[in-house]
Symmetry: C2
Subunit: 519 residues, 2 copies
Amino acid sequence: MNGARAVLETLTGGGVDVCFTNPGTSEMHFVAALDEVPQMRGVLCLFEGGATGAADGYARMADRPAATLLHLGPGLGNGLANLHNARRAGTPVVNIVGDHATHHKVFDAPLESDIEAAAGTVSRWVRRCVSVRDAGQDTANTIAAAGSTAQATGGVATLILPADVCWSRGACAAPVTPGQTTAVDENVLEEAARLLNREGKHTVVLIGGDLMRRPGLEAASRIAAATGARILAENTPARQERGAGIPLVERLAYLGEKATAQLTGVRHLVLAGARSPVSFFAYPNKPSNLVPTGCAVLDLGGVPMALEELAHLVAPGVRPVTISAQRPGLPNGALTAQKAAAVIGALMPEAAIVSDEAVTSGWWLPQATVGCPPHDWLTLTGGAIGQGIPLATGAAIACPNRPVISLQADGSAMYTLQALWTQARESLNVTTVIFSNASYAILGMELGRVGTRPSTDGRARALLGLPGLDFVSLAEGLGVPASRAITADDLAKQLSRALTEPGPCLIEAVVPSQSSFLD
Amino acid sequence: MNGARAVLETLTGGGVDVCFTNPGTSEMHFVAALDEVPQMRGVLCLFEGGATGAADGYARMADRPAATLLHLGPGLGNGLANLHNARRAGTPVVNIVGDHATHHKVFDAPLESDIEAAAGTVSRWVRRCVSVRDAGQDTANTIAAAGSTAQATGGVATLILPADVCWSRGACAAPVTPGQTTAVDENVLEEAARLLNREGKHTVVLIGGDLMRRPGLEAASRIAAATGARILAENTPARQERGAGIPLVERLAYLGEKATAQLTGVRHLVLAGARSPVSFFAYPNKPSNLVPTGCAVLDLGGVPMALEELAHLVAPGVRPVTISAQRPGLPNGALTAQKAAAVIGALMPEAAIVSDEAVTSGWWLPQATVGCPPHDWLTLTGGAIGQGIPLATGAAIACPNRPVISLQADGSAMYTLQALWTQARESLNVTTVIFSNASYAILGMELGRVGTRPSTDGRARALLGLPGLDFVSLAEGLGVPASRAITADDLAKQLSRALTEPGPCLIEAVVPSQSSFLD
């Protein structure tokens, strides 16, 4: 068989059976081989950021990687921002980048560029396949290198696949040897147990990664109940299980000042799947490191069992504290971001998957949805906006029987809006709510926070405005039915309908800019 | 003054007074400083590919660089594809990438990534500013490194600008020392003259770069007239002057087979601003190197004066052969890509700037516009689709008094469509024609050319279809008035109106897919 078929058979044999693709000429043998390997589902994206973000969303929900298929260095470039987010999420991605035929590279044709260098910025593993005989094994090794979210060891593994490897014969598929699972360090566990028993009231357990799923959250809750420790979660979990019957955990704040307040007086910080807290950005005369002075840090690692074993040591027989079912009432009147959050909390269906890139307009969402039926919440992990719509797309492909709610700021929506077309083409059950405030509101806030004092009507402020976007037109242009909500009542009616109808839908929720976000 | 102001004053002092920006928190001091340096025009782009492509288009037409302002590694990633095109065009770009404050980098905050590595893939120069005292000088050196298209020495020069450099005080602006201009190698010139005098009839002069402007074209035409040499142009010139009164030059074909036919029997190839011809992609059992066997290659370099000096040697007193004014007639009936080309040729106004990313639908455009009033033609230089709309945007800012015509394929339009919003926001005089054939037609063609035989109704072919895009809705959603043309008459009416009205406008020209492109 040719190399393309061996790659596809190795992928599907290794459990990778969805490929988010934006191919070009050098990928045509790979595309043609889809006719021969029907186990692989090819999903076309109109822009590579849609493909890489969808691969991230897919794996966060499926607990196994998807593949991408990108077109040489520029295609990889277009996908880089969402691969960055996937890297920060610890998501396994089998990132396949097509390249010129090996013998063609020396001619420096127009699309030639240094793929390895760009891929290295987001990948834990980069392999160029140099011979058709290696196509299967290189693919298998790439899948193994990507790992799995369920082991908290996922990452972006990039396979550079030259065209001649795809078209040459003499390839064979290879089996995937799973990577080693990381064990919990028993000594660290015992140290943590002693610490919690002795200093629980002065300790924060900061959890993240796979420990944001129900077993980790229940273990954390038991530890808190037994030792008096406080549980906090990382600011941007890749996937958090939430809702009625699940322990609630407060997230560390995005704003350094608020995070500092959350950690004031803490003497011990135990990290469980989370990284030591740092400020998202630097600000003049403010600390980057958010660990309080004199606070000791102990890292348990991100192994899913770590917290359960720790709970077994310090909280035997103790029950987790879970949140009870509750929903906000439906508000009335002109829509605001706060009222929109209430509407979403009032109507969120069972088993929803939320892709949250609502930025400043999302401030009230966590509280408004706290007691909704159990759901998964996916956040922007790497700060590279343009994640949300692709992420929702991939999550919907991973979980076709669950409703996906994509909560988007208008500014961030405009990076990868093309992913709506894939939602239409694949008839995905995604409801997108655009919080449309006609501005980069977070930059309006940050302009003050970094210490500048631009005039209110000057050229600087004018650069942060987004007048004239019409998301109803944009969505319809991409094949997604859309409507506009001006009042809370509009939003409630439109959201109710969207959640009961199959296929994608978009609601432009017109809200005022939240410049008082900090209050 | 602070570093941000010193950077801006150095830019404007060095002739760089337009900045295409998509900023984030780490760039807020730069944005705030725009209030203090009114000579700098900040142009907001909703996506970084729009900013980098606009910077390319601006410099191709202004003959001096624009600056970009991008947000850390992911922002650079989003802008990478059009920086790749700028690199291949030889366009000077002062590419400014904001970064975390220097002291913040060690904390590996969520947006941290290896900016140098990604920038290196598209830049001829990468400099990180490490101290506020260097801010002015580093900026001046970056401008000098970017060079200028007028010297055929342009390139992407990247300045990585940490937030603390921008906000700290103690900076001063610096003057720009222009780089050395490259001189023509007189020995090579004399060798070329001897060759042309002796073997002119067996010689092709392949021109490109700045030699595609009127002086270079006239010199080439004189050389051809005097020596019997044939003139060909590179396949994708950054900017070609064309039209009535200007020598016409045939471009080397995109398809290797056709290019091979163009070069059959040639014994000598003289390169003047063009690179030695290679196939755009590799294909099984087809050559990558398009230089005929036994053909000798002599490279004159890309100095604009090279051809004029050569003409002085071999064609003293000889006049260039120019094309006479001519236009196609207006066609009737259902629209096709060929008829659309005729409509454009019939109506193209004086001094138009054409951004050509029409891909397969553009096949008939060069011939249909050959005798139009003098105009500039900008092509896709690096093969990374998504160039055209941003390029048109930048060209319109460079030449506010010239009409810009942006000719776009539907597939490639969907990479950077957001740039239409900037056209609306800045009231730019750009008329976009989308050749809407609901497919990646070029890939349908390439699928056959690479030797695959996918079934006509299989999954592979289905991956190359683009059903359901509505460019009228999309344009209106971005604030650009739009209409749809089904007949040639529709297009003629709509284009006539668009070319007389100020501000941007988009026409979706519905055409059949050109699968018979090769015939």
